[in-house]
Symmetry: C2
Subunit: 550 residues, 2 copies
């Protein structure tokens, strides 16, 4: 390649810029040189270095959640890609349009099983992406990347992988960047009027309808429509159940908000018609005896992804459409019909949820209890606060207690990808600088991505991490308790003890302002200090190691 | 399952015990309860908890390297497996018999795409394992695991994956554990006499033969045979080149030792016959113009894995056999022939290697230089020290300077799996408690598995970590320098800066005794303190961030 020619790496950068991508989250190696070199000429394009790929991908996920736009992670060979997969799984379930680029050794080295080569690297990503493609010609790079970016944004949105061999990136690329305006997905799908009519009829004649708000409601900007529908019906709304929860679809401050979905709740069990709007039905944790739907209730499932409807259990009415359009049509359809008289039990249902604090950890002298921590945290969450939740044992308690104003007051993951919150918080803060971001992690989850702290410090991303440190993999002990074997009889829990880690000291080692607390009532003062401190901060709060969760 | 019945989990533990497995490296979740529960009755079986799967697998790799026996890692679902893959790649290249067990959700949840389920989890492991199998029936668990353990130990040895669904592990399993003695691989393969004769003839008539010692020489206990052959021939021996290096096959203290293989070295370039014994030929880092063999030299490749011979470039003679048997036969064949007169240039070649210190980092005031660190480290390595090398920029310098007495004085990886050394050092120490273990890491590599420090502290595994902290991904900057574009012209290296991390503070946060140094001459005193301290220790030494490697 002569100096006047454009490199493949530069063509890749130009394609990203054309799509409006202004930063990349990366953990690079030698194979990314051509791209990195091209960025030197573009000071408006930010290379965010992460010292572990899990952080690059979870930050990209958070960024995509926060902006609703593309986010790009650029990793190094199959080993870098492998390190990111658990967190890519979180992006998949959140339907985040994260494009993962992976630098590969030159083709000749790939066939020679050279350094950091395995056959067919993209296959590793397959369980987590919509599509994977390794570019084969330098001149195809703009088109291949353009296609990947378009595909990530095409509904159902989600991660896409592109492999970029070093030889192509270093070679001259003559082809122009396609015009993204001709490719950018804009079309929303409207519902089939027949299904809308059927759904409206069911809802209009229901005695006690229930609306369930899924993550897609917020992602498709359908919150106001769901609020309006709920008010039109006088029906209570719950957010998705904990195992499926990604982000709220209905504001917890609304009088019709009635908590979290759970078919076993008495006030859910007697509902005769349930509309699941943009929900995943369901993410099961244990083998179900039956679908998590009350006996005899009729099920309406609205989802923008046709693949979700009837995926596991059958429905009475399935509506495939953009949630915003569909909810609006559903409401106008109801306007032409006699609606229900209004559900006088909404307030009671809401009160029941709010009053029931769930199974409470026992009070024990000298050790703080996670319920107290959750209460203290709830009081610290402001309207413009985004909470990123990544705590296994205390996750359910936090979800129940913390305010949930969509689209951005609460983000979590249903992926089981521990440590996701460490990077996701960074991406959400970069995406929404006007919001405060508080990431709440368990000490176990924290250990899966401590390296995010360096990124926070290096790029002065003012996230506040709250690590609830019970010095335990309490979830493991809880599983042994459920198993009910020798361990529980003897009170010996192999795999539980995670004691002796000073999370605050680790944070300081990464250059993050950190405090360790032993009492929940110290949280407000500590948070005030964290808020006053420029840059990121971490608060570690020690809790009862013997509490294994509900 | 009734209380008197044996669970699948217990059957799995019994199978491991029958094979002599006495510990498992694990990062468990709820799906591992049945197995963990069974371990409570076996205090002689150790559950080593790791707070990240990369540590579990690299520790198992180190343990397998140290013992030459099976090592087992037990992970949690596809997300746990994904987190381990980069380090599983290191086990693959070291041919370590690491069996990776992965707990999966019950079958019904797998088909329901339940929590932490993806289809066909074992496919994720495929690039890194010899075989992957998910057990389908509880009664098959002992047989399936028995087969996996056998397969990992069967030449060519290497990692094997087994998926264990929670429903099978919780169910009753009635089948007995197979008798491992009927399955344990014991047979070694002897070479075809014709190839041995051809090789002997080439070596006997060579004017300047060269022997290259590969990792398989140490793994198959063939070091003494290689020494004897070298002495019989009066031929110099070099260890594998840096990119392929896993462990030495020839003692650097032997007078015939002449450094590291590199076809461009003047004293290698004139060799007329080269025997590659147990080597991987080759692991290429950049697109080769040609094979890394001197013009006109004849190539004999001996390897226990038939797949290695002629894998990339052709050979003159290929011998497939256990390296120990083959080297012994080769020597007796040479006894019947006129050998070479002896190579009077061996001493000169050795001297040339030892005198050439390689490209030296420039001396700069106020910042230490990695060559000085390597020299200081070399003086601290004793006969009973195992060095685990995992430093990208300084790896070549360390390999050149540190003593290499096989089988255990030096272990490294050719996998590009950064952070491997953090866990591998733990496994090697547990395998060989009588040896001192010093793990030398770059700060970049350290960041890929800091969680290993907790394992070292928690289980009091007295490894000494030496982290060479140049506050840089110097390898990225070096790649930009090689690329020769805008970055090098402007002296701007995106993706290089990793400043502001206090590694010693992080180590203290994990409960590890830690010191930060600024001068190599402080190393002996710091090492004395580390050695005197019970339990693990870490020494961080700051070096020049502007040195980008040779």
């Amino acid at each position: 390649m002569s100096e006047s020619e454009r490199s493949g790496g530069r063509a890749v950068l130009e394609t990203l810029l054309a799509w409006g991508v202004r930063r990349v989250f990366t953990c690079p190696g030698s194979t990314e040189a051509s791209f990195l070199d091209a960025t030197v000429d573009h000071p408006d394009f930010e290379v965010v270095l992460t010292p572990h790929e899990s952080v690059a991908v979870s930050a990209a996920d958070g960024y995509a959640r926060g902006t609703g736009e593309l986010a790009v992670a650029y990793l190094h060979t199959h080993v870098g890609l492998a390190n990111s997969l658990a967190h890519l799984n979180a992006a998949r379930l959140a339907r985040s349009p994260v494009v993962v680029l992976t630098g590969l050794k030159p083709a000749r080295l790939q066939s020679h099983r050279g350094f950091t080569c395995v056959p067919d690297t993209g296959r590793l990503a397959e369980p987590y992406v919509k599509h994977q493609w390794q570019s084969l010609r330098a001149d195809d790079l703009p088109e291949d990347l353009n296609r990947a970016l378009r595909l990530a944004l095409t509904e159902p949105t989600g991660p896409v992988w592109v492999g970029l061999s070093q030889d192509l990136m270093n070679a001259a690329c003559e082809t122009p960047v396609p015009d993204p305006e001709r490719y950018r997905p804009r079309a929303r799908t409207a519902p089939d009027p027949r299904q809308v009519r059927q759904a409206a009829e069911l809802l209009a004649t229901a005695r006690r309808p229930l609306l369930v708000a899924g993550a897609e409601v917020a992602r498709h900007g359908a919150v106001a429509e769901l609020v309006a529908l709920s008010e039109r019906l006088g029906a209570p709304v719950v957010n998705e159940d904990r195992r499926t929860f990604e982000r709220p679809g209905f504001p917890s401050s609304h009088p019709n908000y009635a908590g979290l979905y759970d078919a076993k709740r008495p006030t859910v069990a007697d509902r005769d018609v349930i509309l699941f709007a943009g929900c995943r039905c369901f993410t099961e944790f244990e083998v179900p005896g039956r679908p998590d739907v009350p006996d005899g209730s009729r099920v309406i499932h609205l989802h923008s992804d046709a693949g979700e409807i009837g995926a596991i259990y059958g429905v009475d009415v399935g509506i495939v459409a953009d949630e915003r359009l569909a909810l609006a049509r559903l409401r106008s359809e109801l306007d032409g019909q006699r609606g229900p008289a209004g559900d006088d039990r909404v307030a009671a249902m809401r009160a029941e949820f709010l009053a029931d604090s769930g199974p409470l950890p026992p009070e024990r002298d000298g050790v703080e209890n996670v319920a107290a921590v959750a209460e203290a945290l709830a009081r610290l969450v402001a309207d413009d606060t985004t909470v990123v939740g990544d705590a296994t044992t205390t996750g359910a308690i936090l979800l129940r207690r913390l305010p949930q104003d969509p689209p951005h007051q609460h983000h979590t993951t249903s992926s089981g990808s521990l440590g996701w919150g460490m990077g996701a918080a960074l991406g959400l803060k970069l995406a929404r600088p006007e919001r405060e971001v508080i990431a709440v992690l368990g000490d176990g989850a924290f250990q899966f991505s401590p390296q995010a702290l360096w990124v926070a410090a290096r790029y002065r991303i003012p996230v506040t991490y709250v690590v609830i440190n019970n010095e335990s993999y309490a979830a493991v002990a809880a599983a042994l308790r459920r198993y009910g074997g020798t361990a529980v009889k003897r009170g010996v829990y192999p795999g539980k003890d995670l004691s002796g880690i000073d999370v605050a000291a680790i944070a300081r080692g990464y250059g993050v302002f950190a405090q360790r607390l032993h009492r929940a009532d110290a949280l407000p003062a500590a948070m005030a200090k964290a808020r006053a401190h420029p840059g990121p901060a971490l608060i570690e709060i020690m809790t009862d190691p013997d509490y294994l969760g509900p």
